[in-house]
């Protein structure tokens, strides 16, 4: 069973010629089949955690370890991590002019699966998944994320999640910018993947509303660069009622 283990992870960025520590010792274990919600206020470091796991070059790991089934993730290049089974649905996916969605999807599926998917089954797979996510088939011929609305970008991220079938999926604020209908559609996509029992999910969110559709097994409060509290689904209800204040006091200036 696939397991992602994060141990005492410290991460910093270079900003204005100074080094700024953002993650200050994150410990977390995510196993295949589990769903962990990470909730925290703006600027607490949630995206930094997501990007660091995916290997974004802007973030420097200063100490700690990350392993996937015992393999050192931090030693891997960005694409190696993806091929090892990590997937990051981004908060702000970038546009790639001139690269069509269909070309992009096929290229990445080929890379992740280690061989080009058979054309006929592939076309069908993409079509059906797009239909389930209520994406117009015309999106396949558009350039990646170019001119996509916020909601369309998120559907496109989940489309990739469904097609690439990772071992560990990190979803960074997939709920933000979605209206209720879109939130349901996107959540259903995530749940289809979860129901296979083959994926461990790290659901990063600011609000509890997505948790109505995607039920977490564990909820972690993220504040000031580390996990400040962990619990079950009931912790989300508490956050809903009381906010993050109890966790941010005193920590913000550290």
């Amino acid at each position: 069973m696939a397991t992602l283990e994060i141990r005492d992870l410290h991460v910093s960025v270079e900003a204005d010629n100074a080094t700024k520590e953002i993650l200050k010792g994150v410990d977390l274990t995510v196993k295949q089949g589990e769903t962990h919600a990470i909730m925290g206020p703006n600027g607490s470091g949630k995206s930094t955690l997501a990007y660091s796991l995916a290997g974004h070059p802007k973030y420097t790991i200063t100490s700690g370890t990350v392993t996937l089934d015992g393999e050192d993730v931090l030693e891997m290049s960005v694409d190696e991590r993806a091929r090892a089974g990590l997937f990051l649905a981004m908060q702000y996916p970038v546009e790639i002019p001139g690269v069509s969605v269909s070309n992009f999807l096929r290229t990445s599926a080929t890379a992740v699966r280690g061989e080009a998917p058979k054309l006929r089954t592939w076309v069908k797979e993409v079509k059906e998944t797009m239909a389930q996510l209520q994406m117009d088939p015309a999106f396949a011929e558009r350039n990646v994320n170019e001119g996509f609305s916020g909601g369309e970008k998120k559907r496109h991220e989940i489309l990739q999640l469904e097609l690439l079938k990772p071992k560990i999926a990190i979803l960074d604020e997939t709920d933000s910018g979605l209206d209720v209908d879109a939130l349901k559609t996107v959540s259903e996509g995530v749940n289809r993947v979860r129901e296979t029992g083959e994926v461990g999910t790290l659901l990063i969110t600011h609000y509890t509303r997505i948790l109505k559709y995607i039920k977490p097994d564990y909820v972690h409060v993220f504040a000031n660069g580390r996990i400040a509290a962990s619990g079950g689904a009931e912790l989300a209800d508490q956050l809903e009622n009381e906010g993050y204040e109890a966790y941010t006091k005193g920590g913000a200036s550290a």
């Binding site: 070059p57 694409d79 996916p93 790639i96 001139g98 690269v99 290229t107 990445s108």
Partner: protein
């Protein structure tokens, strides 16, 4: 009316829209156009038209010291029926009809060539096959002249391929009769030691359409000067260009579209990728809309993708408008660095860095390549882009 202004340009991109009482595009050249090389002083490098060009790498084309060697280039013309191919002397009346040399090297070429090649497509002939001209450098110095003339309502595609090594100054005249349609693809696929300088003049007849696709990959120094003027109203010109400037290469494209006649159109799109130390691309896009040219519709664009440090782009669009009675006039220029966020996104989907770069660069050129409308040329360009990218990693 505002005073004419030519944009002073920094090292990256700049543009200007000037409103002028008379053509300053012509007057800012250091000498008026002429067929005689003696009418041009030897450039020293600070002239407007030479300031981006490393003169020392012209191998004497600019100062009269480059003497033709006889084994400079080998030219082969393959043409389908309906086409006449002739080699003519300097005094042939068909030479020089499309335009006059505007700088010293173009005039040097004009003053120095021994024979010209004239390709004529008969009136109303519609060619089923392209005319193929191969210019292969054999290591020497050469001066040349090429004329391509289409009779009224003729339609032709001409592909000119430049390969090998040479020091070559050669001009081309394109003369389009009324209603004629000409597509020219000029590929500069030289060895990395070649020097190639030339002025391409197109004279577009009434309701004729001219499409030029300039593709520059090779050479130590390539400096081309595609120019368009209209013989009568209703003409259309599309100028497409694609370049891939590698380490140490200087590739310069200087366009001029002279809207001297009413109701003509022009559209110029040039895109370039640069990589490696000392890669230098220059793009000058001069569009002049003369007072008489009412109803003009023109647009020009240059985009550059800088893949590595150490490369340099000078991109200067310049639009001068002498009449307000036009349909449209616009220009754009942008130079961007290869975007690390795009690379990260693609890599995070399992795509290896090298392949991700290839996707992005192919994507950058894709739209332009699709506009060429000649499938075999498109396929060849995409192949060539792949090769260039492979060489880089």
């Amino acid at each position: 009316m505002a005073e004419a202004q030519i944009s002073p340009v920094g090292s990256t991109t700049a543009g200007s829209i000037a409103v002028a009482a008379e053509s300053t595009v012509a007057t800012r050249m250091s000498a008026p156009p002429s067929f005689d090389v003696a009418d041009f002083p030897v450039p020293h490098g600070r002239e407007e038209e030479w300031r981006f060009t490393p003169l020392e790498r012209l191998r004497g084309l600019h100062d009269g010291t480059a003497v033709a060697t006889g084994d400079g280039v080998k030219v082969v013309v393959e043409a389908p029926s309906g086409v006449t191919v002739e080699t003519v002397g300097r005094d042939d009346a068909r030479i020089g009809k499309a335009g006059t040399p505007v700088d010293r090297v173009a005039a040097q070429a004009y003053s120095s060539f021994q024979h010209a090649s004239v390709v004529t497509v008969a009136k109303e002939a519609v060619l089923s096959e392209p005319v193929r001209i191969t210019v292969h450098g054999e290591g020497g110095v050469a001066y040349g002249h090429q004329v391509i003339e289409l009779g009224a309502f003729a339609e032709a595609v001409v592909v000119i391929d430049h390969t090998g090594d040479a020091v070559l100054a050669a001009n081309v005249d394109y003369v389009l009769g009324d209603g004629a349609k000409l597509t020219v693809v000029s590929v500069q696929d030289w060895d990395d030691t070649a020097v190639h300088v030339g002025q391409h003049n197109a004279l577009v007849g009434r309701d004729a359409s001219f499409k030029s696709i300039i593709v520059t990959f090779g050479g130590d120094l390539v400096r081309l000067h595609p120019r368009v003027a209209y013989a009568a109203p209703g003409g259309e010109a599309e100028l497409f260009g694609l370049y891939f400037t590698d380490k140490g290469q200087h590739q310069e494209h200087r366009l001029l579209v002279d809207h001297n006649t009413p109701h003509c159109k022009s559209n110029a799109v040039y895109k370039g990728a640069l990589q490696g130390d000392g890669a230098h691309a220059v793009w000058i896009g001069d569009v002049l809309i003369q007072a008489a040219a009412e109803g003009t519709d023109t647009y020009e664009m240059n985009r550059n993708l800088v893949l590595t440090d150490g490369a340099r782009v000078d991109s200067v669009p310049n639009l001068e408008i002498e009449t307000g009675e036009i349909v449209g006039a616009g220009h754009a220029s942008a130079t961007g660095r290869f975007d690390d966020e795009q690379l990260f996104y693609l890599q995070s989907r399992g795509i290896p860095a090298e392949e991700a770069r290839r996707l992005v660069v192919r994507g950058f050129f894709a739209e332009l390549v699709q506009q060429i409308g000649l499938p075999d040329v498109e396929a060849r360009l995409l192949d060539k882009i792949e090769t260039e990218l492979k060489a880089s990693v």
